[in-house]
Amino acid sequence: MTVFHDTWDYLTTGANWRGDGKMLDLLLQQLLLSVTALALALLVGLPIALWLGHLGRGGFLAINVSNIGRAVPTFALLALFVTADPWPWLPYFPGTAEFGPYGRAGLATMMALALFALPPIITNSYVAVREVPADVKQAADGMGMTGWQKFVRVELPLSLPLVMSGIRLALVQVWATATIAALVAGPGLGRVITDGFFRTNYGKGIAGAVVVALVALLLEIVAALVQRALDPLPRESSRKRRRGMSEGGPSVSDDAEALGD
C-alpha cells in the first residue's frame, strides 16, 4: 500500500514537524485551543450543573441542553461564526480575525468548541450530583450540615468520579472536533488533513489523522491518570472504573451503583 508508505514517510520527515505552520506548531495550537475551550465550558457549565444537581431541580433543562447541543452541528456553528460580521463590542468575535496564538478565526473556533463541550459537562455533572444516594444526603442533614457544607463535603467528593468522566469525554471530543476548524481555514491540525486531501496527497492527510488520533488517546490516558490521582475515594473495583472510561450517559448507572456500595 503506497498510501501507508507515504504516510510513514511524511511522519518520519523532520521538516514536516518543525517550523512555522508545520505539524508541531499546529499541534500545540490545537492543544491550546482545545484546553482553552474546555476551560471556558467548565467555567460556565460546571457551576450551573453542580448547583442544579445540588438543588435536585432543573433536570429537564440539564438533559435537554445536551440533546439540543447534539443536534446543532459544530461545523454549522463555526460556519455561522466565521461568516458573521465582527461585533463592535467584541472585536475578535465572530469572524475570521487573527486571535493571538490561536490563529485565524481563533476566537470563533474557540467559542464553537466551548459550546460543543457544554452538553457532556452539564449533563454528567448534573446527574453526578443528583445521583448521590438520598440516605447519604439525609445523613448529612442529620449531622446538622448546612446546604453548602453538604455540597462541599458530601456531594462533591462522591460525585467527583462521574464529573471527571464527563470532563474527560469532553476533552477528547473537543480535541477531535477541533480539526473541523480546517473547513473554514481555521487553526489546528485539521489543516494537515484537508491539505493532504485536497491536493490528493493522501499520505499527508492520513498522517494528520494519525497524529490527531494518537494525541486523542494520549489525552485520554493522561486525563485518566489525573482522575485517578484526584479521586478522593480510591475504589477497589477496577472493572467498573474501566467501564466508565469516556462514556456518555450509559456509565451513569454503573457509577451510581458503585457510589451506593
Binding site: 454549522a76 473547513l183 486531501f197
Partner: protein, 235 residues
C-alpha cells in the same frame, strides 16, 4: 425575526444579492428550492443509510459480545477507539478505498453510529431482569425465541434511547461529509462559507437542526408505538 423577513421582502427580489447579503431571505428559499430540497433529501438518505448500516453491524456484534464475555471489553474498547478518530480524518482515511462517493460518508458515519448502538444494545439486554429470563426459559423458550420475544422487547427502551443519540449525532456529523462533496446540507454550509452567502448558510444550518429534531420525534413516536407498556411509567 419577522421584522427581518419583512425588511427582506421589501427590499425586492435581491435580498440575497452580493450587496445586501441578508441572513434571512424568503426569496432565496423560493428561488433555490430545488437545491435545498435536493440537499435535504441527500442528507436524509445518508443519515438513514448510515444508521441502518450501523444497526445491521451493531446487532450481531452486541450479541457476540454478550455470548463471549472476553470479547466484550475488546468490542467496547474498539468502539471507544473509533470515537477518538475525528470525523474530518475518517473520511479522508476511507477515500483511498471507496473514492469520492456517498459510500465513503455512509461507512464513516455508520462506524460512529455503531459505537453508540453496540453500547446501547448491550446495556439494554443486560438490563433485562434475570427472573424474567428464567421464567421464559422455564416456559420452554429457546435461545432465539427468548431473544426475539422476551429480551428484545424489554431492552427496547434503552436501545431506542441509543438510537436517538446515534441518529441525532449522525445528522450533525453528515455535514462534515461536505469534505467529499456528499454532505447533504453540509455542502450548502460549506458553499455558504466559501462564497460568503449568508442566506444559504443560515437556511442550511436551520434545516439541519430541524431535520435532527424531526427524526428524533419520529423515533420517539415509533418507540411509543412499539412499547405501549412504558407509556404510563415513563414520561
Amino acid at each position: 425575526m419577522t421584522l427581518l423577513v419583512e425588511a427582506a421582502a421589501a427590499a425586492g427580489p435581491s435580498c440575497y444579492s452580493r450587496l445586501t447579503n441578508e441572513w434571512i431571505c424568503g426569496q432565496y428559499l423560493t428561488d433555490r428550492r430545488d437545491e435545498l430540497v435536493h440537499a435535504t433529501v441527500q442528507h436524509v438518505e445518508i443519515t438513514v443509510a448510515s444508521v441502518l448500516l450501523g444497526i445491521a453491524i451493531a446487532f450481531p456484534l452486541a450479541l457476540l459480545a454478550r455470548r463471549l464475555p472476553r470479547l466484550e471489553s475488546t468490542v467496547l474498547g474498539l468502539s471507544t477507539g473509533i470515537y477518538t478518530i475525528p470525523s474530518l480524518a475518517l473520511f479522508p482515511l476511507l477515500v483511498p478505498f471507496t473514492g469520492l462517493s456517498a459510500e465513503t460518508v455512509v461507512i464513516g458515519l455508520a462506524l460512529y453510529a455503531l459505537t453508540i448502538l453496540v453500547r446501547a444494545i448491550l446495556e439494554g439486554l443486560r438490563a433485562v431482569p434475570d427472573d424474567v429470563r428464567e421464567s421464559a426459559v422455564g416456559l420452554g423458550y429457546g435461545a432465539g425465541r427468548l431473544l426475539l420475544k422476551v429480551e428484545l422487547p424489554l431492552a427496547l427502551p434503552v436501545i431506542m434511547a441509543g438510537l436517538r443519540v446515534a441518529t441525532v449525532s449522525t445528522v450533525a456529523l453528515t455535514t462534515v461529509g461536505s469534505l467529499v462533496a456528499y454532505g447533504g446540507l453540509g455542502n450548502l454550509i460549506k458553499d455558504g462559507v466559501q462564497t460568503n452567502f449568508r442566506a444559504e448558510l443560515l437556511a442550511a444550518c436551520v434545516l439541519c437542526v430541524v431535520l435532527a429534531v424531526v427524526l428524533d420525534i419520529l423515533i420517539v413516536l415509533t418507540q411509543r408505538f412499539l412499547t405501549p407498556w412504558t407509556r404510563g411509567a415513563q414520561v
